[in-house]
């Protein structure tokens, strides 16, 4: 018990524990819904969810990483903004605008030499995502318009604008999807194709996972964000503004510029996420150009919450949420209505996002327990 108490005093350990407890709570809640909706297959279904990406072998794990990639970025986007005192609810809009920019350049700008094509496309995705967040940033800094409202509105503007632009420029009307990007704009596999595949028969043919070096990019960006936030004067300024804008101004920090920079960086992260997801060749995702906000953007919120806005934590929480979501897809092999599957997965994800709550409750609960035990012991001594 004393050891546990000591461990709880270490912040990192406490944070990780609370996230894990939150995940368990989420899973438990998901299981209850499984039980209610389809009692006979509940246990079987729960196992499928737990097996998640593993259900389909090497390719499945690759897919987990492929879908985790944009979540890491949108999670970083929301988490970074949160650390600097802003609520970026606009990850969806920034994401889809970045995605469009990447796909447009991927399809149209074939004049760029091969090794640079995808890099330019990714860069454009980040820039456009950043620009999309610049507007709420400026509104917040100079006119005190709350960023929650302006980013939500920018989500819809972004969605409709991206759909319009996709249909006008890079639309494949036969498939009702955006066109495939040029070979040179597809992110290189980066060796991941050697690991994540399922062999087909014995002929040596393989069923390749879509995962590519975008996953590496996401990991590198997460580490960079960690360093920026925790090691640099820039991060020190941004966080100071997030905690106390008045004191930051007092200390001579340009607090308006900091707000704008935070939003732009958050937007660039989301936009980059869009680029990473859609620059993935024929087997990867394409922009559907339908009137639905990108789920990757909103899922950035639970990813950031579960990762407690820590860039390294966000890597793991994004992988977890991608894993669970894929597990949910495989539930269709049983008698579960697709809508119920969505509800179950959403419940697990959002329950898991209560990590913050657990972080606050857990030490208190344990302290209370140990105190009670001590008092009891004292009583016995007397």
């Amino acid at each position: 018990m004393i050891l546990l108490k000591k461990l709880l005093n270490i912040r990192g350990f406490n944070n990780a524990t609370s996230s894990i407890v939150a995940i368990f709570a989420g899973l438990l809640f998901g299981f209850i819904i499984l039980l209610v909706s389809n009692p006979p297959q509940a246990v079987e279904g729960f196992i499928i969810i737990l097996k998640g990406g593993f259900s389909t072998g090497g390719k499945g794990m690759g897919q987990v990483m492929y879908f985790a990639t944009p979540l890491i970025l949108t999670g970083l986007s929301v988490g970074f903004a949160f650390k600097t005192g802003l609520f970026n609810i606009g990850a969806s809009g920034q994401f889809i605008m970045g995605a469009f920019a990447a796909v447009y350049i991927g399809v149209k700008w074939t004049f760029i030499p091969a090794p640079f094509h995808w890099m330019v496309a990714l860069l454009a995705a980040a820039v456009v995502g950043g620009l999309w967040a610049l507007i709420p940033g400026l509104l917040k800094a100079y006119l005190n318009v709350h960023e929650v409202i302006s980013t939500i509105m920018m989500n819809y503007i972004g969605m409709y604008f991206a759909n319009f632009m996709v249909k006008a420029t890079v639309y494949d009307s036969r498939k009702a999807l955006s066109m495939n990007v040029a070979e040179s704009a597809v992110l290189p596999k980066g060796g991941l194709d050697k690991i994540f595949y399922n062999p087909i028969g014995s002929s040596g043919a393989v069923d390749l996972s879509t995962v590519n070096s975008g996953f590496y990019v996401a990991l590198i960006v997460a580490v960079v964000m960690f360093i920026v936030l925790n090691k640099t004067t820039f991060g020190y300024e941004l966080k100071a503004c997030g905690f106390n804008q008045n004191a930051s101004k007092f200390a001579g920090i340009n607090e308006k510029r900091s707000v704008v920079m935070s939003m732009v960086i958050a937007g660039a992260l989301s936009g980059l996420g869009g680029g990473l997801l859609y620059l993935s060749g024929a087997s990867g995702r394409h922009i559907k150009a339908v009137d639905v906000l990108a789920a990757e953007g909103f899922n950035g919120i639970p990813v950031a919450l579960l990762g407690l806005s820590n860039p390294i934590g966000i890597i793991f929480s994004a992988i977890f949420i991608s894993y669970i979501t894929l597990g949910g897809n495989y539930l269709q092999t049983l008698d579960f209505v697709p809508e119920i599957i969505d509800i179950i997965i959403a419940c697990i994800i959002y329950f898991s996002a209560f990590a913050l709550l657990f972080r606050n409750i857990l030490p208190r609960l344990l302290k209370w327990r140990t105190d009670a035990a001590e008092i009891k012991n004292e009583g016995e001594d007397e």
Partner: protein
């Protein structure tokens, strides 16, 4: 001896600190009992326990010999315990009467019945000499009157035990005298009063007994009449304290800060908060701006430090026009600022102590290289300041500032601002809410700055501080400098008159 309230062996812990360690306080009926202690000594915690805001880990509370449980302020209220908080809890656009009955409204069929309440309030205010107009809006009456409303609130609820949390901090000398009289009257009527304060003079003036706390522990309870002031302060601080601020005559040299015809707009474009103010602070002198709260001091300081735009006028540091400089550039020219509101402007409360200590110099080559912070250097610097300025905290440089006591938070700000080695130090109420030990310390720091040939501009509401520390006094009234006085010759009454707008110099160009 029967006590009306007894707090026996109270222990209250917070993470990393024992705020109250086995403290016993016994309050007799009809006495004025002072609670004295340094900042962070645990006075507020103890009173919060009595008022039901905190639940103690150990100890018990007895009322008239019966053990009672006080789990929230409502329970305290039911036991007849009332509190006047340091910052009043009043609704500003309600009338006095509405504020008094708020929470205990008398109703008939769901409709307010004010008549009985009004009669009771009028009767109470006559009985205790608390003259207020029941129909005046809170925002229109003076701070002293607002305090009377707070006292009436307690009396209206038939409270028998009245807690006053540093009630004199916001009052003018005249108002303080009135309050002292009111407190004596209340005690004479059989009310028991607990009086938290740092000011030994006030304890001497009204209190019967005094309980002294130090670092969360009980030092003792003494009889005020037979104990000397020096003895009390020694009990509180644990060492001898100099009351008279010792300082040599100032030797002012060339001007460090010059202000010329500075005008700052009001909040609603109605009245200017600062009107045409001109003055000079020279190196080697402490100039104090005295005045009652809300007469434009804050706006003047915001304008000087760049936190608020000005309408017209000029500001010079060492002869250089800095009127249009950013805050950082002003700092670089040698302006340091101990702000009025340490939580709003002074500190990033969620940052650690070391991060706060470099808040104004983190970008200098000493603490960063190529945009990366040198944590090792920051930590060493913080430890150095902590040692030099005796900043106490639970976990040293890594302590989250929010968890530190007010006095130590203030010390951290003072350390940061003075260690920047400023040309002109602007200190706004630097000792507000601090105990004698810390006040003495901060005054010494200000005078040391002066003796090193720095200029100090002190903005203070405390007349004693004004008289003791400054070399020149400028009195501000409704945004204008109405008089310049010499602390050696001026009297309290004279300054009080200027502060209240009753007297002004003939358009003194206070230079």
């Amino acid at each position: 001896m029967d006590y009306v309230i007894e707090m026996l062996n109270i222990t209250k812990e917070f993470p990393g600190i024992i705020a109250n360690d086995n403290i016993t306080l016994q309050l007799k009926k009809g006495e004025i009992h002072a609670l004295l202690g340094e900042n962070g000594a645990g006075k507020s915690t103890l009173m919060s326990v009595l008022f039901g805001l905190y639940i103690p880990e150990k100890g018990l509370i007895k009322k008239e010999g019966q053990e009672v449980k006080i789990n929230d302020p409502n329970a305290a209220n039911a036991l007849g315990i009332g509190m006047v908080h340091q910052h009043f809890k009043l609704v500003h656009n309600f009338t006095v009467l509405q504020n008094i009955i708020l929470g205990v409204e008398t109703t008939h069929n769901g409709l307010l019945r004010m008549d009985a309440a009004r009669d009771k309030v009028v009767a109470l205010s006559q009985r205790y000499g608390l003259s207020v107009d029941p129909d005046a809006l809170i925002q229109d009456i003076t701070v002293g009157m607002q305090q009377r409303v707070e006292i009436l609130k307690m009396l209206y609820r038939d409270n028998e035990i009245l807690i006053f949390d540093e009630p004199t901090a916001v009052l003018t000398p005249q108002e303080i005298e009135e309050l002292m009289k009111i407190m004596r009257d209340l005690a004479a009527e059989g009310k028991s009063i607990l009086f938290i304060t740092h000011k030994l003079n006030e304890i001497k003036a009204v209190a019967d007994r005094c309980t002294v706390l130090r670092k969360g522990r009980l030092v003792g309870t003494i009889d005020v009449a037979t104990t000397a002031k020096e003895e009390m302060s020694e009990m509180m601080v644990g060492r001898k304290v100099d009351f008279a601020v010792e300082k040599a005559d100032s030797i002012p040299t060339e001007p460090a800060l010059e202000v010329r015809e500075l005008t700052v707009g009001g909040r609603h474009n109605t009245k200017k908060s600062v009107k045409d103010v001109s003055f000079t602070v020279r190196k080697g002198e402490i100039v104090c701006i005295a005045g009652i709260d809300g007469n434009g001091q804050s706006e003047l300081v915001y304008a000087l430090t760049g936190l608020q735009p000005i309408e017209k006028g000029h500001i010079f540091i060492n002869g250089k026009d800095v009127t249009n400089y950013s805050i950082r550039k002003r700092n670089a020219e040698g302006m340091s600022h101990i702000p009025e509101d340490r939580h709003k402007h002074g500190l990033v409360l969620d940052y650690s102590l070391e991060e706060n200590l470099v808040l104004k110099c983190y970008y200098t080559p000493a603490f960063q290289k190529n945009g990366f912070l040198k944590f090792q250097k920051i930590n060493e610097y913080a430890d150095c300041l902590i040692g030099k300025y005796d900043i106490r905290s639970g976990q040293g440089a890594k302590t989250i500032t929010r968890s530190m006591s007010g006095g130590n938070q203030q010390k951290a700000i003072v350390a940061r601002e003075i260690d920047l080695d400023p040309e002109i130090l602007i200190a706004v109420q630097p000792t507000r809410g601090l105990d004698v030990g810390a006040i003495e310390y901060i005054h010494k720091q200000l005078i040391a700055q002066r003796d090193e040939g720095k200029a100090v501009l002190l903005i203070s509401l405390e007349l004693e501080e004004v008289m003791n520390v400054s070399d020149r006094i400028l009195v501000i009234y409704e945004g204008e400098i109405v008089g310049e006085l010499d602390p050696k010759t001026a009297t309290f009454q004279e300054i009080g008159l200027y502060m209240a707008g009753g007297k002004r110099d003939e358009r003194s160009e206070a230079i």
